[in-house]
């Protein structure tokens, strides 16, 4: 096969939305190399794969086994590597999620091939795949040419917009691998009302030390809820203070995010914070200090007291949604 193997991620039997982004990227590259796209789904029996043809898969291979409901590193690596060896794609692409960031390097090491991780753009130039990936936590961009074949590429969530390219994708069953014994995922603990993760959200409302105390994060949560489908992020200052979990931290030692809209509330805009969010498409800053560095990278800013501005913003957005 000349083409791309797209690893499609499921969570608890449902395809992850981010996989459609990865599939869209796979389709675009495959078209440039006049190749085909095989989508590989590993998970429990009964995953609904009907959207995969819609987003450009020529073939869908399903490796289904109840023991593969959770991410089992050994079995997932073995099954994916076996597919790559069998089909000989130019590249295997995965989403740079918690799963993909673990599986991608294992796969590359097992196949003895190059890995380009967390890429935000792919191209096909002079017969070879080139990728762009943020390095130094987003302070610079590295452009790489992938000369080896196959290669493994993980794609950062929110860097590709899913596009429908309908195909009559034939679905085949792949063989299930028994879970390998020396490492085993035994459970996933989800907090009640599981939250949208900042790394996957297309809108993020983040709060910083300007909120003064943890209880005031309610203002941020209300704004995120009013917008709908927005995740709540945080600066390191408030994570270190124990106000928010580390999973919410945006920045050099937190998550690097690329949402459509990032609203920074009471965040000064330290270089380590900015590194993590400067790739947002639109940045809004609310800060009482007109000289705060965050205003240097914000598209829109309001200078003033967040305790007055944020409730008003929430109220106006609610009005808008209601109207």
């Amino acid at each position: 096969m000349t083409g791309i193997l797209a690893f499609v991620e499921q969570r608890d039997g449902a395809l992850k939305r981010v996989s459609l982004e990865t599939l869209t990227a796979a389709r675009a590259i495959a078209d440039l190399m006049q190749g085909s796209v095989t989508a590989l789904v590993i998970g429990p029996p009964g995953v609904d794969t009907s959207s995969l043809g819609t987003y450009g898969a020529d073939r869908v291979v399903v490796v289904a086994d109840e023991r593969l409901r959770l991410y089992q590193p050994g079995a997932y690596t073995a099954a994916t590597a076996a597919r790559v060896r069998e089909e000989g794609p130019a590249a295997a692409v995965l989403s740079a999620t918690a799963l993909g960031k673990d599986l991608g390097p294992r796969l590359a090491a097992r196949l003895g091939c190059a890995l380009a991780s967390d890429v935000t753009a792919l191209a096909f130039e002079q017969g070879q795949i080139t990728v762009t990936r943020p390095v130094y936590a987003g302070k610079a961009l590295l452009r790489l040419r992938v000369t080896g074949r196959p290669s493994v590429i993980t794609i950062r969530p929110n860097s590709v917009t899913p596009v429908e390219r309908p195909r009559a994708a034939a679905v085949e069953q792949g063989s299930a691998m028994p879970a390998e014994g020396s490492v085993r995922t035994v459970a996933v603990k989800e907090p009640p009302g599981a939250k949208l993760d900042v790394a996957e959200a297309s809108i993020i409302v983040s709060g910083g030390r300007g909120l003064k105390e943890p209880a005031n994060f309610a203002l941020i949560e209300e704004l995120a809820a009013a917008i709908g489908g927005a995740a709540v992020g945080a600066s390191r200052a408030v994570v270190d203070a124990g106000w928010r979990p580390h999973a919410d931290q945006v920045g050099q030692t937190g998550k690097t995010v690329s949402p459509n809209l990032y609203i920074a509330v009471g965040i000064s805009g330290a270089i380590q914070h900015v590194a993590g969010m400067r790739n947002a498409k639109v940045i809004v800053a609310i800060n009482k200090d007109k000289d705060a560095p965050i205003f240097k990278i914000a598209d829109y800013g309001i200078v003033g007291d967040l305790f007055e501005i944020v409730p008003r913003l929430t109220q106006e957005i609610k009005k808008l949604r209601a109207g």
């Binding site: 390097p105 294992r106 190059a114 967390d118 302070k139 989800e190 993760d197 914000a298």
Partner: protein, 252 residues
């Protein structure tokens, strides 16, 4: 039971650094850049120290692939409390994770380590790759980006953050673990530790890199953000903000 622990550490630019592409257009200009121990590797070193303290003994070896200057980075780990260091010395500026992982795996394989600790990610190349790669090459279990760890003599259980949840993973030793922020709070090297570190053994071994099929075309700064604007002051500016987000930016 005393453990033998390897900690893989990297010399990286301090997170305060303003990045400037160098004359080759492919790597950073290192003039005036302060280098430090990768922040995530501090968590890995700290975890090794705590495990040794809990076990009442053991050996901790800090291993780095890098230029001569990485000896300083290794001394930092020794000052924190590691017993000895190994520098796999190369001046190559590597972007190829597998090439580095192969060097580390080769050096670690005969070491008889119970635990191989890594940072989750190096804050320069941001690959999140070397730990799982080394585990694969050595054929040992790996749990990446852990935030909690429970160890018995021959096995362990770790937690790792996933989107909106936490995975609980059980594994046998020896194992590779890569460490996320939150697992522990790293100590600062005490003066006594810094003095002691100077006398601890640090072996330097020259190495050759073999690439896996990736090459740098360009290192560039991200496009400057278009100059933004202050839409106003105080809550009365909110309608103007919403209008801008809806009509101009199409972001709401």
């Amino acid at each position: 039971m005393p453990l033998k622990i390897a900690v893989c550490i990297k010399r990286v630019p301090d997170t305060e650094t303003r990045i400037k592409p160098g004359a080759d257009g492919k790597s950073i200009d290192e003039a005036g850049v302060k280098f430090v121990l990768n922040p995530y590797d501090e968590f890995a070193v700290e975890e090794a120290l705590r495990r040794r303290e809990a076990a009442g003994g053991g050996e901790i070896v800090a291993v780095a692939v890098g230029p001569d200057a990485a000896q300083e980075t290794i001394r930092t780990a020794l000052a924190m409390g590691a017993d000895r260091g190994v520098l796999l010395k190369t001046d190559a500026r590597v972007v190829d994770s597998l090439a580095v992982a192969r060097l580390l795996a080769e050096d670690l394989r005969p070491g008889g380590y119970d635990l191989l600790l890594f940072g989750k990610i190096a804050v320069d190349d941001s690959s999140h790759a070397i730990g799982p790669m080394v585990a694969e090459l050595l054929g040992v279990p790996c749990v990446s980006a852990i935030t909690a760890l429970d160890l018995t003599e021959s096995a362990g259980s770790a937690e790792r953050e996933i989107e909106g949840g936490v995975e609980v993973v059980e594994f046998r030793l020896p194992a590779v673990l890569t460490v996320e922020k939150g697992l522990n709070q790293p100590r600062y090297p005490a003066l006594k530790g810094i003095m002691a570190a100077k006398k601890k053994p640090l072996e330097v071994k020259p190495v050759e890199l073999s690439g896996s099929g990736i090459e740098v075309l360009e290192l560039a700064l991200p496009p400057e953000r278009r100059a933004g604007r202050i839409v106003g002051e105080g809550p009365d500016a909110v309608p103007a903000l919403i209008a801008a987000l809806r009509n101009e930016a199409k972001a709401l």
